[in-house]
């Protein structure tokens, strides 16, 4: 009827439409503008322009290049004249005395062949020469009192050479030479993670996978495994333990929280808990557990139990008891009473009423939340591990703090990502399996 009414005031309608349009326009342009204003504020509040100066591109470069490559150090101690070759300059990666890779010719005059014509020669009396194609020969004669005494070809020094009285540093794409009074060192960079499987002291270092398979079948599988497992450079055993610890923290924390939270949730649910004060108190306990963050629980618990996986799992347990308690009690409040009535009509006792009338109804909610949290807690466990000390989080922070083992950092990051994705996949699979199985089963 009203659509045919002719006594409508068009100007009023127009006003209303205009008003609506204005509001929409305000929303459409105002909201993005507001977001933009906020981001600009944050830009200056966080001092992003100043950050550009503080950021060190050198560090970024080392980090990136070190994460996928390694360097071999050829070092001469200028006091004793001893020459050592070590991967990453670490003792656990060093070649036995008097041996080296094929590109280092040890002898009275040691020649380090960096290929493409780059040639470093360690001569007698600490003398060192570096043949650089396209530039010429650089020599240095470090002495205890007189500095390094570098000699360059004629002309200005290029910017990849830095030289002072006591230090010479030449960086080329083939390798790097540093000379100080105490030591002369050549670095050669290689692609990959060296010694990932076997360290140099293992007889299996450098063995091809095919040969290794043959040896394994010939009865050396145990020795091969132990050499790999106890690799001092990459510490596969410790890493595997650390990952297990992290997963353990997540599992213990999540399931423990569910076990603690379920009975408490009954006390907090409106339809099961008849005493108002009890309900109120339990709810505030949940709020408190959730509000005091996992971070603070971690700090408090670490004081009592010391660092380790137990502290981490208890911190997760406490925080998640609050979260689960809230979720479960909400699920309990949405339970259908008919099923409970049906069960009690058969003469079931209260405990049986809960077991057969309530639990089957909330199981899907409970399980899906539980498994969802399991995945997210794997990440939390990594973070908590980094704070309290435990699991892969600790190994990661340690590797970052040393600021040189970036290949290990990269390795741990890959492992963490794989671990979380695995837990994600496993919890999704279980969820599908358990919850759909529940529907068909009952």
């Amino acid at each position: 009827m009203s659509t045919f009414a002719t006594n409508l005031d068009t100007s009023d309608l127009k006003d209303r439409a205009d008003h609506l349009f204005r509001r929409k326009r305000l929303m459409n342009f105002g909201l993005p503008a507001l977001v933009l204003v906020y981001l600009v504020y944050v830009f200056f509040a966080f001092d992003v322009p100043g950050l550009a100066q503080r950021a060190s591109m050198d560090k970024a470069q080392t980090l990136v290049s070190d994460s996928y490559s390694y360097k071999t150090h050829v070092t001469r101690d200028n006091r004793s004249g001893e020459i050592s070759v070590a991967i990453e300059g670490e003792r656990k990666g060093s070649y036995a005395e008097g041996t080296g890779p094929s590109w280092v010719a040890l002898g009275p005059e040691t020649v380090v062949d960096l290929e493409d014509g780059y040639l470093v020669t360690f001569g007698a009396d600490n003398f060192v020469s570096f043949q650089i194609p396209g530039y010429g020969l650089v020599t240095a004669q470090p002495t205890r009192s007189g500095g390094v005494n570098p000699v360059f070809p004629d002309g200005d020094l290029p910017d990849w050479i830095s030289s002072s009285k006591n230090r010479l540093d030449i960086q080329t794409e083939a390798g790097r030479l540093t000379v100080t009074r105490n030591r002369t060192e050549v670095f050669r960079y290689f692609f990959g993670w060296e010694l990932f499987f076997f360290t140099l002291d293992s007889p299996y270092h450098g063995t091809k996978p095919g040969e290794l398979m043959g040896l394994a079948f010939a009865g050396e599988a145990g020795a091969i495994w132990s050499d790999f497992w106890n690799n001092a450079m990459w510490r596969h055993k410790d890493v595997a333990w650390a990952i297990c610890e992290t997963i353990l923290m997540a599992v213990l924390g999540t399931f423990g929280a569910a076990i603690v939270a379920l009975p408490l949730a009954f006390l907090a649910a409106r339809n099961f808990s008849l005493l108002m004060p009890v309900r109120f108190a339990v709810r505030r306990v949940f709020d408190f557990l959730r509000g005091v963050d996992a971070l603070i629980w971690t700090i408090i618990l670490a004081r009592a139990f010391g660092p380790g996986p137990l502290t981490g799992s208890l911190a997760i347990l406490l925080t998640d008891t609050g979260t689960f308690g809230k979720i479960f009690s909400e699920a309990l409040e949405n339970v259908d009473d008919k099923q409970i009535e049906g069960v009690s009509s058969t003469g079931a006792k209260p405990l049986q009423r809960y077991r057969f009338g309530v639990i089957p109804q909330i199981t899907p909610v409970l399980l899906s939340q539980l498994l969802y949290f399991l995945e997210s807690n794997t990440r939390s466990a990594t973070i908590i591990g980094a704070i309290t000390g435990g699991g892969i989080g600790l190994m990661l922070t340690q590797a970052i703090i040393t600021q040189k083992d970036w290949e290990e950092v990269a390795y741990y990051i890959v492992l963490i990502v794989l671990m979380v994705m695995l837990m994600d996949w496993a919890s999704g699979w279980l969820r599908k399996k358990l919850i759909s199985g529940d529907e068909s089963g009952h």
């Binding site: 950021a55 980090l63 509000g291």
Partner: protein, 292 residues
Amino acid sequence: MADTTAGPGPDARVNTIQADYMAMAQRRRLYSFVMLFIFVALMAAGFRTADARNAGGFFDGLHRIFDYPKEVLGEAAQNLTALPGYFVQYLPSLVETLNIAAASTLIGLLGGTLLSLLSTRGLAPWPALIPVFRRFMDICRAIPEIVIALVLIFVLGGGPVPAMIAIAIHTSGALGKLFSEVNENVSLKPVEGLASVGATWAQRMYLGVIPQVGPNYVSYALLRFEINIRASAILGFVGAGGIGYELKNTISWGQGRYDQATAIFLLLFLTIVVVDQLSGVLRDRLTHGTSA
């Protein structure tokens, strides 16, 4: 013959059925019981392993659990009058933590929106790349914030920016996944309508899709904001500024600054509770409609 078999027949059949049912029920119960037993055994074994690998044992530490809070609160109780002053003193770092959380949620919201639109069938401009974007989101989601934060702190130096970037990356992945589930249910009619008048992809998305999914997006983003406040507090603890950093400083100082630690505890606790409540109310209004 017929009589004799018909007489006990149904009874016997009922009996066998009942016996079968009971046997099945019993086996089922047995399986459940075995599963429960295995679960309990695994939990116990896990607990024991964790206990063994911990620096201090569970039962040794249990009675000490309240020592530290008592010590801290005791010192705070003595200096009760100083607390309001500390609240004011640490307010800027609290604001910084909130800013980290808010900025990273906003950036994550934008990133997640883009990623989800790129990886939803029917909306994606390059359908062939959907799996690529999905995997990318998975990886963003799987990396814990602390990993990116620690690496960025090394490169960029301490401060709020590494934390913001780290949380934003994680948030993009997490929100992207949730958003793409929302996008699946979008009506394509407005999008087709816009396409018919020659709208570009960005226009189609902004005018055709976003208005449909906006409330859901905002609701998820608010939930994420709650999580991100906690995350930014934690990242402060490893050197990324904000209240977490102050907390770490006061705590590692030990006795003498516990009153300040308490003030920070309280600030953080109150902030988390207040934001949880506020965003809970807001989310309720968004999901149940403004009319309700």
